[in-house]
């Protein structure tokens, strides 16, 4: 029993970092000051060589592992914790809510100190690069010279790539999972449909819904239904729902007829009503995704772009992921191979589509664990070098 008790992270209390130095954003504006809310797990060692930053995806937040005040497990709790692939007995793990988020970091739903009002639609659009710059402030704040590893899935993986390009000497390993070097036209199109759903909701009030005391629930629900659909695979939906109906007899009306409709409505509804996710944040995150294209600064040559990177890479994709398909990860791997970089690549067989990066899977777990051992070996090697130098 006691063994079991020591094997969980328990309840984690988020912390807040106030940054007073201005942040110049990609869009041209300057954020004079901002907060980042973050959680940490495990202990930072004396030489600060065992720190790992987790970057979250579109609707994620800083609560990645352990339990929150409501006893809710973190979104990647299956892979982070004592004895898990990212072992908090070995590593000091950090995860922050992205700037522009709605879980405590400065964003559209927080107060603008200049006006004393909620930012709402006036909060500037931020990009992956802006996120990385703000996370770099967190790195300094925590006294970490170099991350042992950066880890992220989906939009999180894009931040990891951006880190490796912009701050090559600030990380030793980059784990890029179910990501892409940029969005395709189809990806952007899906985002645009989601944004239209939110922005045309009468309760959106041109983004000033907090001031109007409304929530664009319909729009959020529809955006989520669409997004959720792109996270699943045809195979998985087929095996889970098929053409299964709610009622035995066909109704010939527009109510929910098939179970899959019911499931999607439920997912949308849950997101719009229970999660308290800020609609402006949703818009902002999808925009940041659309804008992500680091190679655009290097003649649209990803190999040239990643020539900056000195980190060692693990790239992971999932066979039925069509949002960021294995071919997109191949592009990243190819660019790294062009630079003779240290890179490993795993293509995990899963029926769960894009969502697979969050779900249990033996091969995925095995790869993750094996690679994190390598990260650990490198951390220990650096620690012993710095010890012998003293």
């Amino acid at each position: 029993m006691t063994e079991n008790k020591t094997k969980t992270l328990g309840v984690i209390t988020p912390q807040v970092m106030h940054i007073e130095s201005p942040l110049s954003l990609s869009g041209g504006s300057v954020l004079p000051r901002y907060d980042l809310t973050y959680e940490t797990y495990g202990e930072l060692n004396a030489e600060a060589t065992n720190a790992i930053l987790i970057c979250h995806a579109l609707s994620g937040d800083h609560h990645v592992a352990g339990l929150d005040a409501d006893n809710k497990a973190g979104w990647w709790d299956g892979y982070i914790g004592p004895g898990k692939p990212i072992d908090t007995d070995q590593f000091f793990v950090v995860c922050s809510n992205n700037l522009g988020g709605c879980r405590g970091s400065t964003g559209p739903s927080t107060l603008n100190p200049e006006t004393g009002k909620v930012y709402g639609p006036d909060f500037p659009i931020v990009t992956c690069r802006d996120w990385v710059n703000s996370q770099n402030e967190l790195r300094k704040h925590l006294g970490i010279e170099q991350w042992a590893a950066l880890v992220g899935g989906s939009m999180g993986g894009m931040q990891v790539l951006q880190w490796a390009i912009d701050y090559p000497d600030k990380l030793r390993h980059a784990l890029v999972i179910a990501a892409a070097p940029k969005l395709s036209a189809q990806n952007i199109a899906f985002n645009e449909v989601a944004r239209r759903a939110i922005m045309t909701d009468p309760d959106f009030n041109e983004g000033r819904f907090i001031e109007h005391n409304t929530t664009p629930k319909q729009g959020l629900a529809q955006a989520r239904m669409l997004g959720h659909l792109t996270y699943l695979s045809d195979d998985m939906m087929g095996s889970k729902f098929g053409r299964e109906r709610r009622k035995e007899d066909l109704q010939y009306n527009y109510d929910v007829e098939f179970q899959v409709e019911s499931y999607l409505r439920y997912q949308g509804e849950k997101f719009a009503t229970k999660q308290n996710f800020d609609a402006n944040t949703y818009l902002l995150m999808t925009k940041a995704l659309d804008y992500f294209d680091p190679a655009s600064e290097f003649d649209h040559d990803l190999s040239k772009t990643l020539a900056q990177a000195t980190a060692k890479f693990l790239v992971v994709s999932f066979t039925t992921d069509w949002r960021f398909a294995p071919a997109r990860s191949h592009e990243i791997v190819k660019a790294l191979l062009d630079n003779d970089a240290d890179v490993s690549y795993a293509e995990i067989t899963s029926e769960h589509g894009h969502d697979a990066f969050l779900l249990p899977n033996d091969h995925y777990k095995g790869v993750f664990t094996a690679y994190m051992q390598r990260v650990l070996q490198d951390s220990l090697a650096i620690e012993s070098t710095s010890e012998s130098a003293q």
């Binding site: 191949h330 791997v333 240290d342 690549y345 293509e347 790869v367 094996a370």
Partner: protein, 207 residues
């Protein structure tokens, strides 16, 4: 030292052909034993490629750079530029791929030299079984039934060398051994009758 004694005889023979500090791609690297040995002992750099998930993990546990890939796909040409490697190694996999001739070409495009090993279908025991029993041979090196064998493109040493000739490929070195990876006088005199496994080092003919 213990690493070396654990190394399979085939891998030992291959190691002898590798120039130190060269750049190596190991196709179908399995658990990474050979590549790890080459890195530790000869200071080579490079990658392993392996399709099997468990072997992938085992290779990764050795700290190797492993790319999960299917040898039947066109990953090689997609991933690597011409002459990216000093050696492209492939052990006991030529006979399992969809188009060995095309893979050979892909390997020659990205590697200056290729080291390849495969079982000899022309060994006298195979010939005898087919001749006397009229059935597909089953031996220690080829233990499968005709219907479940992964070895879909068996060839003899002569067949392989014919293909090399046709494709303008030069055989730089050849070692013919038995199943225990020992050579004998007979194998040197009549390799295509007596050899069970061949190790070839080949390259594009310079012309």
């Amino acid at each position: 030292m213990s690493e070396i004694t654990q190394l399979t005889p085939e891998f030992k023979l291959i190691s002898e052909w590798i120039t130190p500090n060269s750049r190596v791609l190991d196709l179908g690297c399995g658990d990474g034993q050979l590549l790890k040995h080459l890195i530790d002992t000869y200071g080579v750099t490079g990658y392993g490629m392996e399709i099997d998930p468990d072997k992938n993990i085992q290779a990764m546990q050795k700290g190797l750079n492993v790319i999960q890939s299917n040898l039947n796909s066109h990953d090689l040409a997609d991933y690597f530029d011409e002459n990216s490697f000093d050696y492209v190694i492939m052990t006991q996999a030529l006979q399992v791929v969809g188009r060995p001739d095309q893979l050979l070409e892909d390997m020659l495009a990205i590697g200056k030299q290729i080291i390849i090993t495969f079982p000899n279908f022309g060994h006298w025991r195979n010939r005898a079984q087919l001749l006397l029993k009229g059935r597909m041979p089953k031996t220690d090196t080829l233990p499968y039934q005709w219907f479940d064998t992964p070895n879909i493109h068996m060839c003899t040493f002569n067949d392989f060398e014919d293909l090399c000739e046709e494709k303008n490929i030069e055989v730089v070195a050849r070692t013919v051994v038995n199943a225990e990876h020992r050579s004998s006088f007979g194998m040197r005199i009549a390799p295509n009758w007596l050899g069970e496994v061949a190790l070839y080092k080949v390259q594009k003919k310079s012309s």
